[in-house]
Symmetry: C2
Subunit: 513 residues, 2 copies
């Protein structure tokens, strides 16, 4: 009878949960329960091994696609299959380049040099659209715009800010001055010019970007998409900063101090809509006033929605294909308060159907930050196993390179809590019950940093290079060498677990499913 | 020397303007000026004759296309040419049916019976889109949706309210109970059901219609398009009224009193956005916050804009292809104050490029109402002469039947000031200087009403039928027979003439002009 009473708690204990004293006493004395506990632990270890294998598989393929790009495009499928006809998208800069930047920085540099090599085509495209600067293509192989459908294609101008973000990240993490002078500065300048001409100031002097499409492809051509505006803001500031560092090169590109000041002004005045009544950020202006999708009447076999409902219907309702506002919470986390992140994440979690493979990893990263560690772990499994388990039933078309790189992002930016806003490296690690240990290395300005995390503490050490200032959960300190700096991990904030649309929660990753 | 001083005033006098006493004295005594005056008058009379011919040509072709529809679609080009491949659009109900309703009502009835005959297809279409009721096609020959492009095509749901409006107009003007029971009621019910399911109530209980396209094809897929919302409001109310008149037939269509009450509630709660700062109605939500089109940098040969700029750019800026909010000012004039009409007209006049032939007639109607009589006269010429003068260089593709019917609309609803809100017939006639006289007949519930207007007064008489209550500039009275009721015409309100985009003003219709 006491076996029965403690059975559930003992299984959870095997998955990492704490055990109450009376249950612990029982476990120590009952052979049956001990056996059950050991069995669960072995099953969990098998899951760990599976995840470790999946992560290695993911890294192998992401690096294979990325590190051997050799100044050609890194395609959505790498060279693993015919999906997307070999085209590259924003996936490259947003999902693959963070991995490359911190592991094989010269591969990130080469990928950005490829973008730079296509600048003339991007300038031509901007000119064709009546815009200044450069408009990089939504999908391409050699730099030409190859997308014909425009509402959720060429109107997704955020690709330009994503490229700028990748330039800024690589620059901060590498200190590669030669790259900045030869390519980075020009990429930043031309994309900043694009944003400055794409947006306009309204009567109150607020800088608006109207009629563009954000990452979520179940919305299109909306005003002031929060992700787009915040990434454009960063783009404008990165460009102005780079101009300040290299006034001579900037002058050669025709940038004077007035132009750069104009970018800073636009960035400062950018519109970030907020729904005061709901206390959340709308994905784009008026998004939260639209009708919520009727999830209750949507059958499981009607996903992905795009194959069963007209875009007309998807576009006008609150339903999210993939992280959009939530991606802003990650990449522009410096623009949101902790409470806003928690409210926004919960709101969009209930609307996000994950009909795109570019979502689970981002949902995992923000889930960790706002305290939903177990949910993040489930998303982690989905991102890492997408192809090994053929989760989207289309692995025969090629691997999901961005999702695989995204598995690394979950490990490092999710459970490692790594952020790199303004070039500073900070960590806020936290592990879910079902993970005992996480370890990863990062390249940063000639250094090799090692981070090891367990349930209670994190250890930071340098394998190579000069002392480095980092932060752990808000506390700043220097890591000076091979001797690890150890810091305890504060308890995650307790928050109500948000729900997903019916049937769209990630598969619970535990023994027996 | 005095000839020179008075020359301009004397020319204007020949075009209808008053003459100051000193100029009048000069004209009476100077043979040269007298000769010039007579020449101008003859030229003006020739223009009058041209316009009269154009109007007859327009009526002939509009009636030819419409009166011989015989329960088939009235195509945009009638049977006069291959343009639009024989397809019919909302043009039929909004531009051709008003003419037919008041001149050959049985032709209007037949056109609506054609729509009714396609109801099953429209129901199927609504069902396909996950909507209730019936969704009539954007372009069709036999009732099937034949439009592939959707942002400015099938998303233009207003066609359904336009059909309902035509039903309501025909019903009020004919009192044709048999039609109402056999076809009209069902058209109203099924379109009301469509709107009820297409819109939704927001958190404040306001009824929103998101993500649809209004008449203007240089905007698409916007929230709360004012024209659409106001026409949907009328649709919902017309349906509820008809259900009240025919509860037995309504019951056969499955309508109970709760459903009809729901339509009235939605109609009462419908969102009509208003820009408080500018004091105008935005065409759709946020429209007035978008960047104005850069007209100054647009060359004359870049019109029509759709052939020279990407839709991406057109959709996100303030530029109007054709009357949209201004069409609401006409057809739903009962929902706007006189001052709002004047401000709104001025605002949209400066943004409207008239790249569609479905615009000049509507701009003329509202121009008259807000007091810009001479501007209206110029638009009148454009609507009436569109094919005789091949103004759009495409008359070889067929005649612009809606624009030709629109010439009748300018005469009757513009200079005659006829409105038919809620089934009441009202007039507010006013002639421009360049028109001496306007006369037209109207069929209304078995009567034949004759209206004659000159610069100073209007005469209303009945050629046939029972006494009829009408209104003249707000004063209600009965017309009882052949003896005309004469009323003077109040002076038009003096308002600043609004401007059009550079180069997009209508051609000034005057001798040598």
């Amino acid at each position: 009878m006491s076996c029965e009473r403690y059975a559930g708690a003992i299984v959870e204990h095997a998955l990492g949960a704490d055990l109450a004293p009376d249950a612990r006493t029982h476990l120590e004395t009952c052979g049956v329960c001990r056996g059950r506990f050991d069995e669960q632990q072995r099953a969990m270890q098998a899951l760990d091994a599976e995840l470790q294998q999946a992560l290695r598989f993911a890294l192998f393929h992401a690096l294979q696609a990325g590190a051997r790009g050799e100044q050609r495009a890194i395609a959505a499928k790498g060279l693993t299959g015919p999906g997307y006809n070999g085209h590259a998208f924003w996936d490259t800069e947003t999902f693959v380049l963070p991995l490359l930047t911190y592991t094989i920085p010269e591969a990130a540099r080469d990928a950005l040099r490829w973008r730079h090599a296509t600048l003339d085509l991007a300038r031509e495209r901007a000119n064709q659209l009546g815009l200044a600067g450069a408009a990089f293509p939504w999908r391409t192989i050699a730099g030409h715009e190859c997308s014909s459908y425009w509402p959720a294609g060429t109107a997704a101008f955020h690709v330009n800010a994503d490229i700028a973000d990748a330039v800024g990240r690589y620059q901060a993490a590498s200190g590669d001055e030669r790259f900045e002078r030869e390519a980075g500065l020009e990429l930043l300048v031309e994309t900043a010019r694009l944003w400055r001409s794409l947006g306009h100031h309204d009567a109150e002097g607020r800088f608006r970007i109207d009629g563009v499409t954000g990452p979520d492809e179940y919305s299109a051509v909306a005003d002031n998409n929060v992700y787009t505006n915040l990434m454009a803001q960063r783009n404008l500031r990165l460009a102005a900063d780079a101009v300040e560092r290299h006034p001579d090169r900037a002058a050669q590109l025709g940038v004077d101090s007035e132009e750069a000041a104009g970018w800073r002004d636009a960035a400062a005045a950018i519109v970030v809509p907020y729904d005061e009544k709901l206390g959340v950020h709308p994905q784009a202006e008026a998004f939260t006033e639209h009708q919520p999708w009727d999830f209750a009447s949507t059958a499981p076999d009607q996903y992905p929605l795009l194959l069963h409902f007209p875009y007309f219907d998807l576009y006008r309702k609150q339903v999210v294909k993939q992280a959009d506002l939530v991606l802003a919470l990650h990449l522009r986390g410096d623009a949101f308060s902790a409470e806003a992140k928690a409210s926004d994440f919960a709101y969009y979690e209930a609307l996000t159907v994950r009909d795109s493979s570019l979502s689970a990893c981002t949902q995992a990263v923000v889930a960790v930050e706002v305290g939903h560690l177990e949910l993040a772990y489930d998303y982690f499994g989905e991102a890492a196993l997408i192809d090994l388990d053929n989760l989207e039933h289309n692995t025969r078309d090629g691997l999901h390179i961005a999702s695989l790189a995204g598995a690394w992002i979950v490990a490092v930016a999710g459970f490692g809590g790594m952020r790199d806003h303004d070039g500073a490296l900070t960590f806020a690690p936290r592990l879910p019950q079902r993970l005992n240990r996480l370890a990863f290395g990062l390249c940063f300005r000639g250094r090799r940093l090692k981070v090891e995390v367990d349930q209670r503490q994190a250890r930071y050490s340098l394998r190579q290079g000069e002392p480095l200032q980092i932060a752990h959960h808000g506390e700043t300190f220097d890591v000076t060498g091979a001797e690890a700096v150890t810091r305890t991990i504060p308890t995650a904030p307790a928050r109500d677990l948000p729900g997903q649309p019916p049937g769209r929660a990630p598969v619970r990753r535990r023994p027996g499913g």
